[in-house]
Symmetry: D2
Subunit: 338 residues, 4 copies
Amino acid sequence: MIIVLKPDATKKQVNHIVEKVKKLGLKPWVSQGAERTIIGVIGAEDILRIQPLEVFPGVERVMPILKPYKLVSRDFKKEDSVIDLGNGVEIGSNKIVVMAGPCSVENKDLLIDIARKVKAAGASVLRGGAFKPRTSPYAFQGLGEEGLKYLAEARRETGLLVVTELMDLRELELVEKYTDIIQIGARNMQNFDLLKEVGKSKKTVLLKRGMANTIKELLMSAEYILSGGNFNVILCERGIRTFEDYTRNTLDISAILAVKFLSHLPVVVDPSHAAGKWSLVPALSKAAVAAGCDGLIVEVHTHPEEALSDGAQSLLPEKFSQMMRELRVLVKAVNREM
Amino acid sequence: MIIVLKPDATKKQVNHIVEKVKKLGLKPWVSQGAERTIIGVIGAEDILRIQPLEVFPGVERVMPILKPYKLVSRDFKKEDSVIDLGNGVEIGSNKIVVMAGPCSVENKDLLIDIARKVKAAGASVLRGGAFKPRTSPYAFQGLGEEGLKYLAEARRETGLLVVTELMDLRELELVEKYTDIIQIGARNMQNFDLLKEVGKSKKTVLLKRGMANTIKELLMSAEYILSGGNFNVILCERGIRTFEDYTRNTLDISAILAVKFLSHLPVVVDPSHAAGKWSLVPALSKAAVAAGCDGLIVEVHTHPEEALSDGAQSLLPEKFSQMMRELRVLVKAVNREM
Amino acid sequence: MIIVLKPDATKKQVNHIVEKVKKLGLKPWVSQGAERTIIGVIGAEDILRIQPLEVFPGVERVMPILKPYKLVSRDFKKEDSVIDLGNGVEIGSNKIVVMAGPCSVENKDLLIDIARKVKAAGASVLRGGAFKPRTSPYAFQGLGEEGLKYLAEARRETGLLVVTELMDLRELELVEKYTDIIQIGARNMQNFDLLKEVGKSKKTVLLKRGMANTIKELLMSAEYILSGGNFNVILCERGIRTFEDYTRNTLDISAILAVKFLSHLPVVVDPSHAAGKWSLVPALSKAAVAAGCDGLIVEVHTHPEEALSDGAQSLLPEKFSQMMRELRVLVKAVNREM
Amino acid sequence: MIIVLKPDATKKQVNHIVEKVKKLGLKPWVSQGAERTIIGVIGAEDILRIQPLEVFPGVERVMPILKPYKLVSRDFKKEDSVIDLGNGVEIGSNKIVVMAGPCSVENKDLLIDIARKVKAAGASVLRGGAFKPRTSPYAFQGLGEEGLKYLAEARRETGLLVVTELMDLRELELVEKYTDIIQIGARNMQNFDLLKEVGKSKKTVLLKRGMANTIKELLMSAEYILSGGNFNVILCERGIRTFEDYTRNTLDISAILAVKFLSHLPVVVDPSHAAGKWSLVPALSKAAVAAGCDGLIVEVHTHPEEALSDGAQSLLPEKFSQMMRELRVLVKAVNREM
């Protein structure tokens, strides 16, 4: 921690801070320059981080040196985490995992039909929402447990793994019962009680980045889950909110690299929610793979004109198949597999 | 709803959309210009809003005409809503309500001391968090029920009303029991299950705008609560996330005006969280009152150097008193009371 | 400057940096903690700032301690700068200066009529554009020198001072000839050649913040002008670009405070361009005054329905007069004059 | 143009607008719904766009239907524009063009050495700045004409084409004399006088997107150049400003697709300025190619530790060569050439 003092900070003010730091059991050093005095405290930044040093008289600025996350950090674990998703599917290795399916689970036959088609095209995980976070209270809110049952049935029929969103922590057991991967949506990335609950779960968690959250905050939210004992966390970049309105959100392609530099956790990309338009999904998927992501989560629907949510960003199965064929060529060019 | 077709849309595509709209029981009209054909459907926008019209062949863009919210809208209720908070305090009238107190409830004596001081300065509501949404799992998470009890005791001691944050819907009953106003924090503005639950409560809800949420989305989240039957909702502007980093967030002062134009609900401003620095709080409070807000929620702490959270943005009681004296002059100049 | 090394930085890498710093004539110190080594260099930050220290092997991060601007800084000059604008008008003192007029100069009679009306209402500076920065090449681009002549005539008729925008440095002499204050628009805030030219002028410069520029960058752009020898610079907050679309830009009310903390230069607010809607202008003007600005620059037009640019955000003279009456009450409440 | 009226708009107000539209020679139609009346005017949107319809009494909102740009639009020209850059190099075809070189031209030998190395690696255009837009007036401002001469000499030595930035329109002739492609930097994207000048030039223009400018605004700025008679314009995505601070700017990868959908002009990507860190450049370059860009512009420096600007984001020649080798494999996988 570096504490920068104001140009007119008094000796008394410097001593007051030095005393405070010493009382916390830490060893400060003071460096006096012509224009500013600074106080440095190396190590044990956790103890200092929770002290409001900015309010001490004479302080101009406080600059942390260490990262506020630990368990998710590359410093903690050098090699990439590879998570076993079940069914012989793993993520974080050289092999790219594709998750696909409708935005919402709407009815059983439709879901199973879509599941078969995405499986045939090469997906290994079926996505589909039973509980839907909708901006409007008047929009379709999802089928609830019925939807979860359909997902489980689609899994039995196709052998696909299943990922679905958990919104309400009272439904954790239910979601655990029917699915393989629990998704925490962008709007709940900082729902800390929910994070604590899934931190106690044995299921893999797919944690989506919030629309206005930094990569550091995404890692801090993952830290909640790991510190609860659940190390099976997949991070997901799904676009951030900016002034640009051609796309629904701005896909932050650099976030893939940032996560890989800073953390050992696998990272997937959701081009459908980022773009909000199906026509951009294939090219964004290719860009994500070329940038080094470990997987994709893509919306596919057989009848987007009838979809109860997010029809505009859903690929038709034939477009999805074509994209998968093109990706298969691409992954080789970047030394990955699929 | 206005549906703009692509320049090369075929007659068949136009008819396909017209048929679809008619099947929904609506009456479309078609207007053909030199460069674009458009299809208009006036009224009953709710039915169309959930149709993914963008995916219909030939469609370039879909533009809604009506607002997606109803109960919170000025169209629904022309006059300002005035909410009775209890104890003879009401919000939304000509009188400005000031809520003040520490970020977190830390211990009983400290809380009661702060409560007495903010009351003496003119506050009518005590704020204080028992459950704290912290970015880091290693930071102080709040005292829980113990904290709620201290708040209740401070209320008994001072006669102040109490507002506190609810994060976990399993704790709704507990929070209802001890407090007067339930705060939904910025990070939970789109935690729709939580909104549905407080929509069933009898308590007034203080709904904070999310850091990356538009005013329209804030109103949609309030609509969740009103549509659940609870019309006692106060909106709160607390800064949005932008590229500027001098302040922690950018206080969107225009949001006060926007809410007043679009909705009948009262709006308060939280300058402490917006700025992240106590030294900006008095001037931002004045700006908010001058712009027309109905109240303020301000962090005050007797020992910011020892605060367990947000010390840097807490005013000392004497600074708060001075600010209140200055505000008392200001409110008269803008024809309000305090 | 604080140079933070990577956890695995070698002794050789540390020495390489220490040698480099010494070669520049500076005195580094090294501090080794359990988790990180850091190298500090106090003072003479200018020399280091232009070294790409981030690329030295072993470096994780470089953190500057000192501010990159000098002449505009409060450290350089403690007391507020008061600029004499001529005609007995000064800005930066206790008295608030109001600049008002049409977006563009459209014709002589209209301009003089508006000038008379804003003067009667209490403005002391007439604003009006002769050269207009328009997003579209097909939009009205301004009357050019003819417009400048009308401004000069309006000045003769009314005694108002005149502010107008300079876009093209080839027209500096022309603009200097006809006006009192040269405006550098938001889109040219980082047009460094233009800044250098007005740095050599004797005229006061009104420097608008760019839509996506930080307060620090605004101060750096002002530094260009002061370092050229022209200390008569007024800063202007006019809204920044964010995701919110209710207003055209988001007025960053805290920027007023930030500028006042960091710099001695006067700061004015342009609520018209920030909001993009005339109905928000009076309340935003009040908020700006309450927050502590030194002046306002407001668009006023007698026939907004016929305006060639920005009609939607122009106040009618009678609305402007009413706003001025209300502001006159408000300024007293915040111990200012008008 | 769709004009949406307020719920309480009077018949007189509707007629007033209808009359105004008719006076402009256009044919409005009126559609009355249960909740709103709307007035539509199809075609000739240019005439209406400059009318401040929002200020007419009774108007709630005005929604344009047509795009404000013409010459740059896909509607104007269906097929991709292919620009002949000279030396047998063209951009906009199936072949990807790589531009590389130092941020600033620093001295002749260094420049020629870098030029040889980037040519050997496969670049066909040399980049290098002689006039540098620097945030600080105290930073290196470029070598000026001397730098241009070195660029010309590097061109003679290597056969590479040359691109360099023009900041000051007084230097257009100079820059035209020595270079093949004129770069308009991000900070000058809305310097409309500069755009008008290069619109009269015969040289190809590389127009960079401003940090806070939408894709629509980028196209409008290009429209300035095309409407001046110069159709040889290359657009460049180089990152936008967001709240995320891991990268210097957020590379908007979707902008490549948006430009390709909306316009016929070629688009290149600058990963160096977007990321601000050399380590991200190779992966971002791959992502850009996979997404469908027509070229890359990359900073390369033999001695980044000594670079006078942007050292932190410059690739060493050997890293650049390796990246080019990897890109050569990738371009085949996406059916492009290099």
